[in-house]
Amino acid sequence: MTVTVLLFASYADALGSSALQLDLPPGSTVRELVNRVRALGGAERLPPSPMVAVNERYATSERILGAGDEVALIPPVAGG
């Protein structure tokens, strides 16, 4: 199944991209997705368990993903 990964701010800079498509086995979790992303070039700056949102809602690392999900890796926020 294919999911879209969104990257922002320092994470986008680290990976040199703001969006990726990843092909994952059905039933994959957020944790597995993060591990795939962390294996990409430049991703050593990502923490092992970054904050994640699935379809615009914060999610845990155990969350099971579905085809077409939009998964955002959220760097520490700094609004205000």
Binding site: L6, F8, A9, S10, D13, P47, P48, S49, P50, M51, V52, A53, E56, R57, Y58, A59, T60, A72, I74, P75, P76, V77, A78, G79, G80
Partner: protein
């Protein structure tokens, strides 16, 4: 609630003005010239816009329920800002001042914790850095549940 144009705080005051209210609190956040001892010349704000709008909407709804007023308005600016520019404004009005203060504070504090907005500070020495990027584990990393 996310805007790319300058924020007019007085417009937020107008949006919460009702004769039932005896107290209105306005919070205005502006770009500061010094952060952690470094001279700042400007800030670029970036956001995950759709989620930021959703989170801001949820935060306002919480404040409406907690402090029993419908009269809350918030705007956060995205893009390039210079010193003194308004980056965020919150107006909260209530018949009584305690709830107006509390509602405004709730929105600001929760915004800073949860809304996916980031700032790239520009420094006088020409360098740029994402604020908090070096803080390692995100707040939500060890948190189970929907909210960091």
């Amino acid at each position: 609630m996310l805007v790319s144009r300058p924020i007019d705080p007085s417009a937020l005051l107008e949006r919460v003005a009702r004769t039932a209210n005896g107290a209105t609190v306005l919070f205005v956040g502006t770009v500061r010239e010094l952060n952690e001892g470094r001279a700042v010349t400007g800030i670029e704000y970036a956001a995950y816009r759709s989620m930021a709008e959703r989170e801001l909407t949820a935060i306002v709804a919480e404040a409406v329920a907690l402090f029993q007023t419908d009269d809350i308005a918030v705007e956060h600016r995205i893009g390039e800002l210079t010193l003194g520019d308004c980056s965020v404004a919150v107006a909260a009005a209530h018949p009584r001042r305690a709830q107006a203060f509390d509602a405004a504070r709730h929105v600001v504090e929760e915004l800073k914790k949860r809304v996916p907005i980031w700032k790239l500070e520009h420094y006088a020495d020409g360098t740029r850095e994402w604020v908090n990027a070096g803080s390692g584990l995100a707040v939500g990393a060890a948190t189970e549940g929907d909210r960091p």
